[in-house]
Symmetry: D2
Subunit: 355 residues, 4 copies
Amino acid sequence: MAEQRAALTAGDGAPAARQPLREGAPRVIVAGATGFAGALAAQLLWRHPGFELVGVTGRAETGRPLEELYPRYRVPLEVEELDVSRLQGIDAAIVAYPHAAAAPAVAALREGGIRVVDLSADFRLSSLATYERWYGEHPRPQLLEEAVYGLTELHREQIAGAAIVANPGCYPTAAVLGLAPLARAGLLGDVVVDAKQGISGAGRVFDDTTHLSYAGENIVPYKVAEHRHTPEIEEQLALLGAKLPVQFQAHLVPLDQGELASCYVTPTREIAAAELAELYREAYRDEPFVEVAASPPGTREVCATNFCRIFAAADAHTGKVVVLSAIDNLWKGTSSQAVQNLNVMYSLPEEEGLL
Amino acid sequence: MAEQRAALTAGDGAPAARQPLREGAPRVIVAGATGFAGALAAQLLWRHPGFELVGVTGRAETGRPLEELYPRYRVPLEVEELDVSRLQGIDAAIVAYPHAAAAPAVAALREGGIRVVDLSADFRLSSLATYERWYGEHPRPQLLEEAVYGLTELHREQIAGAAIVANPGCYPTAAVLGLAPLARAGLLGDVVVDAKQGISGAGRVFDDTTHLSYAGENIVPYKVAEHRHTPEIEEQLALLGAKLPVQFQAHLVPLDQGELASCYVTPTREIAAAELAELYREAYRDEPFVEVAASPPGTREVCATNFCRIFAAADAHTGKVVVLSAIDNLWKGTSSQAVQNLNVMYSLPEEEGLL
Amino acid sequence: MAEQRAALTAGDGAPAARQPLREGAPRVIVAGATGFAGALAAQLLWRHPGFELVGVTGRAETGRPLEELYPRYRVPLEVEELDVSRLQGIDAAIVAYPHAAAAPAVAALREGGIRVVDLSADFRLSSLATYERWYGEHPRPQLLEEAVYGLTELHREQIAGAAIVANPGCYPTAAVLGLAPLARAGLLGDVVVDAKQGISGAGRVFDDTTHLSYAGENIVPYKVAEHRHTPEIEEQLALLGAKLPVQFQAHLVPLDQGELASCYVTPTREIAAAELAELYREAYRDEPFVEVAASPPGTREVCATNFCRIFAAADAHTGKVVVLSAIDNLWKGTSSQAVQNLNVMYSLPEEEGLL
Amino acid sequence: MAEQRAALTAGDGAPAARQPLREGAPRVIVAGATGFAGALAAQLLWRHPGFELVGVTGRAETGRPLEELYPRYRVPLEVEELDVSRLQGIDAAIVAYPHAAAAPAVAALREGGIRVVDLSADFRLSSLATYERWYGEHPRPQLLEEAVYGLTELHREQIAGAAIVANPGCYPTAAVLGLAPLARAGLLGDVVVDAKQGISGAGRVFDDTTHLSYAGENIVPYKVAEHRHTPEIEEQLALLGAKLPVQFQAHLVPLDQGELASCYVTPTREIAAAELAELYREAYRDEPFVEVAASPPGTREVCATNFCRIFAAADAHTGKVVVLSAIDNLWKGTSSQAVQNLNVMYSLPEEEGLL
C-alpha cells in the first residue's frame, strides 16, 4: 500500500514538491479518498510535515492517480482498493465512507491496530437507540464504546487517547461551537438552528441537486423536520447540560464551500450584551481555531481554513440571542477537523499542517 | 414626457416589438427607473397590454435609453428627469426612490392627481412613531393616512380604491404571506424569520457587498437585530391578530434573484399536520399568485415570476411549525407585485401582464 | 395523448393560467420533454397563443407532471411514453432526443404525417459522408433529403414548406449568424471561432462536468479539434460561398444559460470599419431576432430571449475582423429557435410567443 | 513602518499563528495592499518563511488592520500611508499601484535603495514609444532601463540581479508561457489569443461590471482591438524571435479567480502531434511551476496556486495549433509570480512560500 512518494510527479516533469517530512512521522492512509472529504483529507496530509500519507483507497476509480480526479489537490498517489491484509506499518487512517459502509471498514482497521478518524455518522451518537431511530440498524454497535466524538474543542482530552474518533457532521460542528458557551452556562431555553451550506456539502453526488443549472441561482431548503444532524446536535448540547429538542433546518445555496449556522436562542434568563460578549470571549480565549468576531461573519472569511468564526448578539427587542457561526463545511466541518484530531491524537501541535 | 413608442428601436433595425395595447389603457410612468426595481417595473409595464408606459425618469443617467442600461429588458424609452409640471394626461406612477426621497416625489405626484404605487418604505408603516424610530423623521407624515399597504393578498379591497399604495418590502412579502394563515388562526406564539436573498436585493449599489469577488462564494448575514423590515412584518402580523415581537435575520447568498423566508413558529397550541395543511390550503385556495407546495420550495421555482410558493410542516419532535416561503425578491418582492397592485387599482384581471 | 389542459393545476389550487388559445391552432407535442431543451420548448408552446400543446413525452419519469421536474416552467401536462399508434389529430412535434435516437423517432412521426422540428444533429448535415465521419452510422439516411436546416434567418423559405426541420446546434447558430454577412460577401479568408457557454449547454447530464463544485469557479475548454459542431458550421458557411476549414473551440463557463461565439476572421481583402458596419446593418435590417450592436454584447443582454446580438469590428492593427455573437444557448440556440421555425412552418407571425 | 508582528491578533484572542521566520530574512513591504493584488501579495509574504513582511501601505483605509479588509488572508498588520522617509531597514517592496501612479512610487523606493517588484504596467514595455502609444506619458522614463520583465520562466537570470522587476500582466503571463515554445522554434505564423478571466481580474473596482447582478450569469467581451496587454504579449514574443501582430481579445466570465488563454496559431510549417508534444515537454521540463498537461486544463486545476498548466494540440483538419494555458490570474498572473520573482532576486528556493 505504501507508495514511493518521490517517484510520482504532478503533470509532466514537475516534481510533486512538498514540505520535508519529520523523522518518525506516523504513517497514515485515507480510505475513501475519491469523495470530496477524503480527497481534501489526503491533500492536507500529503502536505503535512508530521504525517506520512502512504496510501489512498477508493471503491471505484482505482488505478488512477488521485491528482487526476482532483488536479488542484496535487496528490500523486494512485487510488487503490482497501486491502486490510496489507496494512502492516500503517499507524492511522481517516475513513471517508458513507454511514453504514464505514463501520465495517473501521472495525477491520481496528483489528489491525490502526487508529481511526471516521468521517461518517456511524460513531457520532453515543446512544445506539438514537442511531437506530435515525439511521437504521448499526453494523458494529460493539465499537460504539470505543469511539470519542471528535469536536476537538469540546473533547480534546478524550480524543488524545482515542482509538476511534467520530468526526462531527459539518452542521453540528458549526452549531455546537456556536451554542456551547450558552449551553454550558445553562442559558439555552429554546433553540432554532437555520443552517446554509454550499453545494460541496451534498458531496460528489450527481443528480439534479448538484447540477449547476439547478443549484445555481437557487436557495433550496431540504429535509424539513428530519435532518439526521438534529440528534447529533442535541446529544452534544445535552452533554453540556442543555437537554432540549433543537429545531434544525438545512439549506443549500449556490457556492462551493462555506457554511453558516444561524442560531436563535430564547435564553433561560435575560442576558446583557456585555455578559454575552464576555461569555464567548472567555469560552474561546485559548482556542487556536475559534474566533469570536466583532461583526457578523461571512463564510468567505473562513473559506479553505480550519477556523470557526462566531458572532453573538443579544436582541433587546425580542429578548433572544442570535449566534452566527461560520465554517468551511469541507475543512473545519469535515477534513481539516479530522487532521486537527489526528494532531491531537499524536501530540503534534494542534495547528500543524492547518495554517 | 410621453415618448412615441413606435419610433423607438431596440438595437439597430429591430423594432421594439410588443403586445398590442388595449384601447383607453391608463397612461403610467416609472419614476426612478434606473435602479433594479424601477427598471423591472418599466419592463413589465412596457409589455403589459393594459397599461401604456409613457415615461421613465431617473435622477442620473438621463438622456440614455433605458435599454442601454438594462439591455435585456428592451425598454427603448429615454430616461428623463421627473418634471412634475408636465404630468398632465398621466394616470398613475410607480415610484422607485429610496426612502425619505420617495415621500416628496409621491406628494408632488398626488398633487397632480396621479395614483401612486410607492416602492419605498415611506408609507408602509401606519404608525408614524414606529417609522421615526426606524427611519428618522418622516418627510410627509400627512400622507400616511392616504396610503394602503400593498400586500395584494391581504389588502386587495383597500388597494382597489387607494390613491397611494405602499408596496411591501421583499422580506415582509415572503414572511407575512408565509405566516398569515397562522396569525389569523391565533396560532403564532413565537416567531423566528431567517431570510436569505440574492444580491439584487442589495440594489444597484456598488461596494464590496455586491462585488462578485466578495459576494460570490459567500454567505453573509447582516443587520443583526436591527433590520428595518422587522417592524413592517410585526405591524402586518398584528393587523391579523398576532401582536408579538419577531426575530428577523437577513442574509445575502450568491445568486441574483431569489428569496426564501424560513419561518420557525412556536404555536400557541398543538397543531396536527392535517390541520396545518388544511389551514394553508384554505387560506390560499383562490389566490392566483400564492401556491401551497407539497415539498420545500427552491427559489428557482418562482424565479422571474409573481408567484409565492409556501410549504408548511409541523415538527412533531419540537412541537414547532416550519414555514418556508419562496419568492423572487425583485418580482413578487417588489416590481411585479407593484404591477399586480396596479391591476387591482384599475380593475384589470389581476394576472394580466404577469404570466 | 391529448391532456385536458383546463383540468390541470399548478401546485395546490392555483389554476394553470395562460393566454387564450387561437381557434384552430395546430396541435403539437414535444417528444423528449424531460431534458432541458424539450422542457423549455414545452413551456414556450404551452404559453403560445398559436399552438396547442397537447402532450409531452419522455423515455423516463413518465407519469409525473412536467412541472414537477421543471417547476418554474409551470407546464402541468403529465410526461407520457411516446406512443406512435396514438398520434391522430397531432399536427407537429418538436423532438428533443440525443442524436441517433432522434432519427427513428422522427421517422415514426413522419409516417404519421406529422411535421417535425428535430433538435438533434441527425438531420443537420446534408452530407451523409460528413455525418458518418463525425457521428457514426446514420439510422435513417433516407430522410436526409426531406430535412431543411433550421437556422431561420438563412433558410426561412424552405423551412416554411418543410416536413423535417433540423434545428441547428447552439454553437452553429451563434457562429453562422455572426459570420454569414462576411461569408456572403466573399470576405472569409480564415476563421477561428472561440465559443463559451453556460452549463445548461452540457444538458441534463449528471457527472463531474455539471456538478457545481466542479463547474463553479472554473473555465473548462473541451473537445479540442474534435467538436461535432465544426462540420455543421463549415457546411453552412460553404452554402454561403465560404468553403474553408473552421478552427472551432468550445468552453464551459460557470453560468446557466448564455453563449458567446468570438469569431476571428482574416478577411480576403482589407475592409474598413464603415464598410463592415454597413455590411452587418444591411444583412440584418429586417430580421426580428438579430440585433447589430454598437458595443460588445454580454450574453445577459439576450438571456431568456430568442435574440442574437452581434458586434463586428475591424482591427486596424492586425487587419483581422472580430465578430462577437451572443445568444441564449437554450433559447435561440435551441428551443425558442425551434418555436420560431414552427411559427414559420405554420405561417404565424415569426415573433409570436417569443417576445 | 515595522509592525510588531507578535503583538497582533486575528479576531479575538486567536494568535496570528504562522511559520517560524528564517534568521536574516529580508524585510519587505507591500505598497498598495488594499487592492486585490497587494492584499494577496501581503498574505503570501506574511506566511513566507524567507521574508519578513514588516509593513503594508494603502492610499485609503489607513489605520485599519489589513485582515479587516481581507479577513480570509489573516494579515494583522495595520494599513499605513507610504512614508518614504521611514524606509530604513527595508530591503524590498512589492508595489501594487495603478499604472502612472506606480512609477513615482517605484522611483522613491529606488532612491532609498529598495529593490522593487512592480505589479503595474509602468515598466513592462521596454519601448517608451510603445508605452506612450498605449498608456500616455510615462512618469519616470529614465527608470525603464533598470527594469527587467518579470515573467520568471523567461527572464530568470536578469531577474536575479534586478533592481526593478516589472511583474507581467496576467493575460501576457498565460499567453506568453503558452506561446513561448512555438515562438522560440520559429513556428508562430499568425496568432489569435482569446482570453477569459474571473471578475477579480477587474480589480477592487465598484461598478456595473463587477456587481454580481450584472457579472453573474454573463459572458462579457471587452476592449475589442484595444486591450493594453496586446503590446506586452507582442514585445515578449518578439524577444523570442516572433515579431508579429497578435489578435488579443479579453472576456470576463462569472467566477472569482481563474484565467484561460486559448491560443490559435497558424504555424509557419506543418507540425506533427509528436513533435509538438516534445517541443512543449522539452521547454518546460525543469520548470517548477509550468505543467504540460495531457488534457485540456480547467482553471480550477490551478486555482490559488502559482502553476501554469498548458495543453497544446495540432489540428490536422485546419493545420492550426491550439494552445490552452490556464493560470490563476491573481496568483501566477499577479501576486504569487511577484513572490516567485522575489525568491529569485534573493536566491531563495523558487518554490518557497508557494506550495
